[in-house]
Symmetry: C2
Subunit: 452 residues, 2 copies
């Protein structure tokens, strides 16, 4: 006999997969997320994983790395006009879907989407190249009520606090507060504003003084600096940051602090709109436990997409998870690249695979069973196969997940199988008894009345 050629497979960096016992937990988590989205009336859509490159790039260059597709057996000219790529997020496909099916959708359109996305990152970065995201968004035509800005943190809190991974803190801000305040400083150029945003963004990770003086220098040297008062701006930023970094017992206290600070001009219209919106959002989340949702004016979240409410979320008891597990906010227009409609929206995205992998890797996820089976029905002898299979069917009819053991092997071997797979109960149809594998107790039981 000729020797078989064997290609020993190895994991591909950036494409994670889990063992069955881990997958069981992942499924429980995903079920919980989906159930919560649906409890608030969000409806699922699923788009193909593949989009035209023209769609993926319609907004212009993207910094996301895209995988393009080529048919292995393509003949010359076959794919000339079919430039396809894997989607790198769920926002672009959602926007494309909305534009394409606009007349068939009911607005406000509340959708959730739980799919894999791909990013052709350089392998050596150790980043995931295939991962699952769980997104919700609400969009409406022309105007979207603030109601939804307050609904999203309630959903996210319900999801994350239901996963038994410690305290969850959602940080909320409103881009209008920063934008309005910067306008009041005479900063209208996007470039100049970006200098301040970057400084605020880096504050949580870097030292205060070098950041501030670096910022001042950058402002002074900038070509858009129309004789702005860099000293006043620096003082204002310093005061703003100091206020933003503090804790407050209420948003009113934070607002009062801002309004009573000399170097912060709180008369700007946009600024006050932002304060009012953020206040509304926080007010309508007051039913959540203390500390579940806090105002944090230092949240920046990208420079050009979000226009109002912004969210970040931290897991306070998971030190290994340092960044935001779930972020998002309000944007002015979802699908302007694909349709001539004005569609403002608000949304958030859970980076599921990264969350699951970090928790798994650091031992926060306790696996138990290796299969969904509740009960193993033993097969004492070939003669009793019909009885065993009937027992299994009857238990299934009552909602249990049941296996019949597959061969009339020694009972000890059948019990060992249940133990190895983490099956909680072993049923003996010939004896009319069931064994609780956790306690070792074996008691009389009737199929018609048995409960776990």
């Amino acid at each position: 006999m000729s020797k078989k050629q064997i290609y020993k497979p190895k994991p591909i960096s950036g494409f994670p997969e889990w063992l069955p016992e881990e997958r069981l937990i992942e499924q429980q988590w995903l079920d919980h997320i989906r159930k919560t989205f649906e409890a608030y009336g969000f409806t699922s859509i699923e788009t193909p994983c593949v989009e035209e490159l023209d769609v993926l790039l319609a907004k212009g260059e993207t910094d996301k790395e895209i995988y393009t597709l080529t048919r292995l057996q393509a003949e010359d000219g076959d794919d000339k006009d079919a430039r396809l790529g894997l989607h790198f997020d769920q926002t672009v496909p959602f926007a494309r879907y909305t534009a394409q099916h606009f007349n068939d959708l009911t607005f406000p359109f509340k959708r959730y989407q739980m799919q894999k996305v791909w990013r052709g990152e350089r392998p050596q970065l150790g980043r995931m190249r295939e991962f699952l995201q769980c997104d919700i968004d609400v969009i409406n035509v022309d105007h979207l009520p603030l109601h939804f800005d307050a609904e999203i943190p309630a959903i996210i809190y319900e999801i994350l606090s239901g996963l038994d991974i410690g305290r969850v803190q959602i940080k909320v801000s409103n881009r209008k507060i920063l934008n309005g305040w910067l306008e009041s400083l005479g900063l209208f150029s996007e470039d100049m504003k970006a200098i301040i945003f970057r400084t605020i963004d880096r504050l949580s990770k870097e030292e205060f003084m070098p950041l501030i003086s670096g910022m001042r220098e950058a402002l002074e040297k900038h070509e858009d600096n129309n004789s702005l008062d860099a000293e006043y701006i620096t003082d204002s930023v310093t005061d703003f940051i100091n206020i933003a970094r503090n804790d407050y017992s209420s948003f009113e206290e934070l607002e009062d602090k801002l309004r009573s600070t000399k170097n912060i001009d709180t008369s700007n219209v946009i600024f006050n709109e932002g304060i009012k919106e953020l206040s509304f959002v926080l007010d309508h989340l007051s039913h959540l436990p203390e500390g579940a949702v806090v105002a944090d004016l230092s949240i920046v979240r990208g420079l050009d997409y979000y226009t109002g409410t912004v969210y970040e979320t931290n897991l306070l008891d998971i030190p290994e998870f340092t960044s935001s597990v779930c972020s998002g906010g309000r944007y002015d227009d979802l699908a302007g690249s694909y349709i001539n409609k004005h569609l403002p929206g608000v949304g958030i995205s859970i980076g599921f695979s990264r969350l699951f992998d970090v928790l798994r890797h650091n031992g926060y996820i306790k696996t138990a069973a290796r299969c969904p089976t509740d009960v193993l029905v033993v097969l004492p002898s070939e003669d009793q196969r019909t009885q065993s299979m009937e027992t299994a069917r009857a238990l299934r009819g009552r909602g249990f997940n049941v296996e019949t053991y597959h061969a009339p092997q020694k009972i000890g071997k059948q019990i060992a199988y249940a133990e190895k797979k983490g099956i909680s109960y072993v049923w003996f149809p010939d004896l009319g008894e069931v064994k609780n594998m956790a306690t070792g107790e074996q008691t009389a039981a009737k199929v018609e009345t048995w409960q776990k």
Copy 2:
């Protein structure tokens, strides 16, 4: 203001997507399939959609069209040793997964997998290029009991008969019956056997006489024809086919018919093994309704993969669905290309996307709601927002999917929203009443005791 550049998206042929109301039904179906798999103790795995090309091609050339991946922004040399492709089925990834995690799995390993697969078909064929499959397989080391061959049709029947798509018929055969009989005819060459298999396979679609004479000619002309008796073979095939095409009240009747036919030699060992195995499988499915599972010796299902039991499934009341909706069988060795272990298995695959699309397209799927919401709580005025949100939370706490209307608009508009989305109940927290949208009836209701 500069005019916006708009790229109007269009569907990409072969990459289907559904509207929210269709997606709701798809989710119900997938939930039902998953629940049934789990009721029999099958556990989920999910593999990356991407595999190394070396893995995808380890078995040698495949007739499946593969999409390979290229990073759009790859620099020279970046991807030299990372030749990646999208998986074209779930069998290859399952085999690779089993080989890679062999020591972490418990055998017999019963797994299900519900993922999308991709085939880079020529666009003009109108075939799906991205579609969802639902697979189950059981594999074991060295020997797999026949128990599982009988379990799989029971699962498939429970799944398909639960979808309200009319009568389901699972056709079962055993490759050993055909193989043994062909051996008894002196046909050992794979090439010669293939001539007979192809003839049997085409019988359901084409005319009998031309097929049979074409077959005889092909046998006579074949280089492996070591002075075989083409006339006897043709007679035997004719008799076999005539028997296979008939209906029988029991498998015993079919067996008796074969054994009493002059031109069919039923003494072959392999043939008799096949009869015994098929008989075992049918015996242990006798609890299913009459006609749910039938023996059909004309099933061929590929020439080189299956070695024992084979399955095909027909939807008897859906004339538009002419081919098998779900097929599979027993194979000798799952993962021989990746690991030096002998892993026989039995499995089946539901071509979900094609099934769903054909039924949808032909009007067999009745959509109703456009969202999962059970109850819409109205917002009579801004003052009553807290009351409305509290009512919604309380109803959610009792397991209902609930939306609060997002703005204090006219009640008629709020009710119209519920109607358009197919929400069944509208709740009036100020009145303590609920309106049943189907009947129009509005009655007093308490959150704490209300039932749908």
